[in-house]
Structure formats: structure tokens, C-alpha cells
Amino acid sequence: MENINKKVWDLAENYQKELSPDVDKAWTEFNKRREVENEGKVVKRNFLLPLGIAASLMLLVGFFFFNSSTQNSMETIHTAANQIEKLGLPDGSEVWLNENTTVSHFAVNGSDRTVELQGEAFFEVEKDENNPFIIKTGGAVIEVLGTAFNVKNVKNGVEVEVRNGIVRVNGNKVKAGEQIFISNSGSIEKNKGSNIGGWINKELNFDKVPLSEIINEIEEIYKVKVAVRNLKLNDCSFTTEFHDESIENILEILKVGFGCELKKINNESFVLKGGSCR
């Protein structure tokens, strides 16, 4: 190294940098994060977990298939990654399959309307009061007469959200706008649903929804990661609608809404820095 550069290098020793955070406040924050961590076992609506964990929970994993006990022969459809498929069933019902999803459905319209699902799908079921439409998935059996709803296998259970009508999940009534979560151990949790089937055409409505939940939904639908650096923003609610917007436009709106800085790391990851609840 050049002599003068060596001197500069040595002088740099004087670099001083110290942070004096409010430790008591940080401790409170830590306890909050720790609680969320512990709750990983009891999943809450929309998975209010730190980003990384949320991402792994969002993996659409199906657990086991029921053996078909139907006489009606079954046909099986599978979607690949990044593929969304619409399927018409013989009884007139329609199913939108999200990526990495498998549906086995009845081949002919008859008294048996049983479907087996692994992954995530949105159903619009044709009314037939004499023959319930039945979905078997994970540890849940969903019975419907005629309605529209979303079913999703997550890591530790099955989540069903109802858009119209009433659905019966393992005997529990779930009404329009509601969500039910059946864990693999059989425990049940009911919540308010939101943007049910929003992944089909990216129609998203948020009415006074905390930013953390908005981000979770966007991350899942757009397959991106968005880091909100200012943790105080997570609880701030926001009201907005997105109609098949690009991820860049959505984040631009959040950026302006909260006065953040937006940084695009690559096509799949973004950072929102700074900002405040307005």
C-alpha cells in the first residue's frame, strides 16, 4: 500500500459510531415479536408473522389425499408453478386453480359431487339442493349447496374463505365474508375474510387494513417480498383498491400513502423505508 494511503488507513481508526437505542422500548418490541413467534403454532388470520416465516407458511402444501370412495370415476388436473387454471366441472360448477394445485373431480354429473383438493382453489358451485358439493382436503371436509368460496391448504391446516352463501366445514357453518381455519390437529379458528379469491384477477380491496396485512396479501399474490423497515408502520391502517395493478404501481401507492422511500432490490424484492402513519 502506498505510504500516504497507509496513513489515511490508520487515521480511519478514529471512526466513531455509536447507537444509543431506547432499550426499554426495544424490549417491548422484542416481546411483541417473540409472541408472534410463539404463535406460529396457532396461525392467525392472514398470518401476522415476520416476513420470512410468513413466506414459508404461504407455501401451498397439501398433506394427504383421501382415498376416493366414490363410484363416479375421477379426473385429475394439476397446475404448475405460476399457472392459474380455470376448470369447468360436469355439474356446471367452476373452479379456479392457483399454482401448484391438484384437483380430482367427478367425471360425470350425478348424485356424487365430491372433489379432492391439494393446494389452493376458488370454487363457484352450481346449486343442487339434493346433492351437496363436497370438497375433501387436508383434514377438512367442506360441504356446500351453492356458493362461492376459496379453499387453501397451508402448512398446518386448511383455510376456507366464503364469498357468497354458506359453507359447512367439518360441520361448522361459515357464512359469506367469513374465514375458518382448521388446523391439522383439528382446532378451529374463525375470522373475517378478505379479498376472497383475490389471486384470480388481482382485485384487491382494503378497507382500513393494517399495512402488515396488506403487505402479506400482496406478497402472496405477487410472489414478492416487501420489507417494511419502519416497524411503526405495520399497525397503520390504509384504505385502497387495486384492480389488476402491477406490483410497482401498488408499492408506489403505498409509498406515497405513507411517505416512504421505495427501493427495488430486484423483481422479487422491495424495501419501503421511513414514512409515517398519515
Binding site: 488507513w9 480511519a12 471512526y15 466513531q16 455509536e18 447507537l19 437505542p21 432499550v23 426495544a26 432490490i265
Partner: protein, 186 residues
Amino acid sequence: MNPDLSKTDQEILEAFGKNHDQGMEMMFKKYFALVSTVVYRILNDSEIAEDLAQEVFLSVWKNRETININSSLKSYLVRAARNKTLNYIRDNKVKTSVSEEMPDLPDFTPGIEKEIAGKDLRKKVSQLIDMLPERCRYTFVLSRFENLTYKEIAKEMGISEKTVENQISKALQFLRKGLANFLDDK
């Protein structure tokens, strides 16, 4: 004084072994500032520093049943903080950096007396290093204070070794100009 600050590492680890909750609180209260400072020194962003420091302690908490801290608690946490920061840099690779332009040097009048000069030097050095463009600053700080080799820095930041070398020489050049007063004294 906060009772948790006066606890020795040994006492904290013993407490942690017996009662995770209590030990965690002692550890957190004693070392949160230090751990945030380690991150802050590298990233120069206090918000991210506190966020990553939280994650360091959260990892300790997550592994509370199996964690085995053989070295001193302090060096364990410092190392964890450094690794967390390097991961952060790696995951947030700045490919198209916002600005690579070197900033203008700030106005500066050196102090006359020796003592003041010493204080000024610290202030000046800190000011200059913090003014460096992001990528340049990372490479310099990682090399100078974290003792990473060019090869390691290149790997962590996803840039070539040649770029690391260029960035560091850019940083040195900038500091050399900014510290001209102190260098001429010799």
C-alpha cells in the same frame, strides 16, 4: 442503574439456563445497544440496525433450548450481529446503485490546539466515512473495521474483487482529500 447492566456474562448465562425468560431480559437489556451499534457501524442506518439487532436476539430466543454459548456471551452476540448484517447486505444486493458519485468535501476548519484537533479528527473521519456512497462505504467499512478480505467482501456483496479494490481506493482517495489538513501536519 439498571440491575441487568451490572450482571456478568456468566451470571446471565446461568440465569438463562435456569429461566429462559429472565435470562433473556438480562441479556437483551445489557447487550441490545452494543448489538445495534455493531450493525449500525456497518450499515449506517439506525432503523435497520435496531431491526436486525432485534432479529439477533430473536434467533437466540428461538434456539433457547439448544443454544450452546461456549465463548463469551459478548463475542457470541457481536459475531451473530455481524453475520446478520452480512446476510442483510447479501440479500439486499444493490445492483444498480442509486448514486456512485463521490460527494463534495465538506467545509472544515481545523482546530488550533492539539486536544481540539484530536476531537476534530474523530468527528471529521466519521463524517467523511458516512458521506461515502453506499457501496463504497460498505466495502471500506467491511475491510477496515470488520477485517474482511477483498474476496470475502466480493462474495458477500455479489461484486467482483476488482470492484472491491476500486471502491476501497476511491474511499481512501476521498478520505485523503478530506483529511489533507491532518496529513500535512506530519
